[in-house]
């Protein structure tokens, strides 16, 4: 079964599907209609430092199999969640879908659950929504279901600014899709995810996704219509994104091509690795490392990581020896400094906004989000300020203006987070954790992280020491943080302990 399909597919050496498909009797054909059991509306779990906390996905998965995709680390990944395979067995479909009627109810403020109610004030204040947060909204599943064709007119009807995250270079060139945006193009911002200038390299990494040149064609058509677009240059992969044989300045060439296609911002982030990948994920990493020309990248990465050492076990799985609860294995600021500054300088020279979604160098952002929106933008300038990216950007501005500003939790406390349970935003993993946290809100967890500087997601650790705790506010009992500038030597002192 596996060998047969492997020959038909030919995209990898068999390692990708090995764990996932095993001996299952699969039906690869998509059902006429996806089961309508998916809940595609949620607050993003990254909302602690994300300017767009409302995320919408119409399907439970994605047709593209990108080797670095962070959704492989989440419960929607089939090899992390047995329910996905159960759905396949019972309904003949890997994927389920959010009922389009619920989208209209949500936009019309008719949904009455706590999540929707907490979102309405954000919508009322003009906060854009993410469309395509965990999967591509214009992939081949969309082509099969036509969900977005019904959704785009609804977004226009209810005047909701939409930031689309996509790689769908071919589907978005189709006239029937381009036509959808004609009535209000400026209401849509397309963040095109492109990590390599080379079509040959990208098709080995973004398996099944359209190549770079197709994405740029779609970007050009959309910006000609009046839509806004940006380059989502993440994850930045050495050997693929920066340079490759024959193109020593590939990153710069790509940015120039995006500029010609109408992009006006970049959102940058250096690669991070999951410290505990599944077998399938580790196989995808191996494929990625091979394409990067660095088959031992996981070991090299250990040298530049902030904490711990990467090791490889007998099965060839990479893991971090002492990461504790760190979920993203990132390089040190020092290792990323040069290329980050080059990308920033290039973006500014093109007249773009610079956004960095990597927690390191977020303080360099042109504005308090990592999408690259302008504060003056009529549609996209109303992002939520109540998050840590805004805090660190404002803290840096105040410091550089000679008036250092102190922040405590209440200064950025996002109200919505105190109205939803933590389990609505984060998969709690096991029942015991669920039981411990069942009466806490997501806001309680945010506040706890704010007040626990050695937590990997505390402002101190997360930003690599740029926000430092300077005392306790007697009025609220919460920690007070201040911005401190960084220099290359600081990494030696920053042990995160």
């Amino acid at each position: 079964m596996k060998d047969k399909h492997c020959k038909e597919c030919g995209l990898c050496d068999g390692t990708l599907c090995n764990t996932l498909f095993g001996e299952l009797n699969l039906n690869y054909e998509l059902p006429d209609k996806f089961p309508q059991s998916y809940n595609g509306l949620r607050f993003t779990s990254d909302a602690m430092d994300c300017s767009l906390p409302i995320a919408i996905d119409q399907h439970s998965g994605c047709a593209y199999n990108c080797t670095y995709c962070f959704s492989n680390s989440l419960q929607r990944a089939p090899d992390r969640n047995p329910a996905v395979l159960q759905r396949l067995i019972k309904h003949g479909s890997f994927f389920n879908e959010w009922n389009i009627k619920k989208l209209e109810k949500f936009l019309n403020r008719e949904l009455k659950d706590d999540i929707a109610k907490a979102m309405y004030p954000l919508l009322d204040q003009g906060c854009p929504v993410q469309f395509g947060a965990l999967g591509d909204p214009f992939d081949d599943l969309e082509l099969h279901s036509g969900w977005a064709k019904k959704a785009i007119p609804l977004f226009i009807k209810y005047k909701i600014p939409v930031r689309v995250g996509t790689k769908a270079g071919i589907n978005l060139q189709r006239p029937e899709y381009l036509k959808l945006f004609e009535d209000s193009p400026e209401q849509f911002w397309f963040a095109f995810s492109i990590i390599s200038n080379s079509d040959d390299l990208i098709k080995k990494i973004d398996i099944r996704a359209p190549v770079t040149s197709e994405r740029l064609k779609a970007m050009k058509l959309l910006t000609n219509l009046g839509c806004k677009a940006s380059l989502r240059f993440r994850p930045f992969l050495p050997g693929i994104s920066d340079a490759y044989p024959g193109e020593p300045n590939a990153w710069e060439v790509l940015m120039d091509r995006c500029n010609e296609a109408g992009a006006r911002a970049v959102s940058f982030e250096y690669i991070f690795l999951n410290p505990a990948p599944t077998e399938r994920q580790a196989a995808m990493y191996r494929l990625m490392f091979k394409t990067m020309g660095r088959p031992n990248f996981d070991k090299e990465w250990g040298k530049d990581s902030q904490r711990g050492v990467w090791k490889q076990n007998e099965a060839g799985l990479i893991y971090a020896s002492d990461t504790g609860s760190v979920s993203c294995r990132r390089a040190s600021r020092k290792a990323k400094y040069d290329i980050t500054m080059k990308v920033k300088d290039k973006a500014l020279s093109l007249g773009w906004n610079f956004g960095c979604s990597d927690p390191h160098f977020k303080e360099e952002n042109s504005s308090g989000g990592c999408c690259g929106f302008s504060e003056q933008d009529k549609w996209f300038g109303n992002w939520s300020r109540r998050q840590l990216t805004e805090v660190i950007v404002q803290a840096k501005r105040a410091y550089e203006a000679g008036k250092p500003r102190q922040f405590t939790y209440n200064d950025w406390r996002p109200e919505w987070a105190h109205k939803v349970r933590v389990a609505h935003c984060i998969s709690l993993g096991d029942w015991h954790t669920h039981r411990k946290l069942k009466t806490q809100t997501f806001g309680d967890i945010m506040r706890k992280k704010w007040n626990t500087p050695n937590h990997p997601r505390s402002p101190y650790m997360y930003f690599g020491g740029m926000l430092r705790p300077v005392g306790i506010d007697n009025n609220s009992g919460d920690l007070v943080y201040e911005y401190r500038p960084w220099d290359e030597e600081y990494d030696e002192k920053f042990k995160g302990e």
């Binding site: 204040q125 109303n382 109540r386 007040n451 050695n454 007070v480």
Partner: protein, 121 residues
């Protein structure tokens, strides 16, 4: 017979403490739920509340009086037992005086009593 059945059924319905469970859940979740009377939140800007900053004269990672969220569940140690036999489970539950059968947990269990039982041995 029919009447008896109906009566039994109605009694059974009365015995199920639906109202009580609902009220317990409401009490547990009330602080978390959306309230219509809440003022509209501000998402357009950061605040700058007045601060009374107490400088720390100890290491930045040791905060004996730090507030870590509204509730401190994570700070309490707990032990979970699994029982193969229902009888053993009932025996332990009765001995410890755990009266909440639904959730099978006792957030306010008398730790002193438990320790006393262990010390007796």
């Amino acid at each position: 017979m029919d009447k008896q059945c109906q009566k039994k059924g109605s009694d059974k319905k009365k015995r199920v403490p639906k109202v009580k469970i609902t009220s317990i859940l409401e009490n547990m979740t009330q602080p978390l739920l959306f309230r219509e009377e809440d003022p509209p939140p501000n998402y357009h800007s950061l605040d700058d509340f007045p601060k009374d900053v107490k400088k720390m004269d100890y290491g930045i990672f040791s905060f004996p009086d730090i507030k870590v969220g509204k509730l401190r569940y994570g700070e309490r140690k707990f032990v979970v037992f699994y029982f193969d036999n229902e009888e053993d489970y009932q025996k332990v539950v009765n001995k410890l005086g755990i009266t909440i059968g639904k959730t099978r947990e006792h957030p306010n269990m008398d730790t002193k009593k438990l320790l006393g039982l262990i010390d007796e041995r």
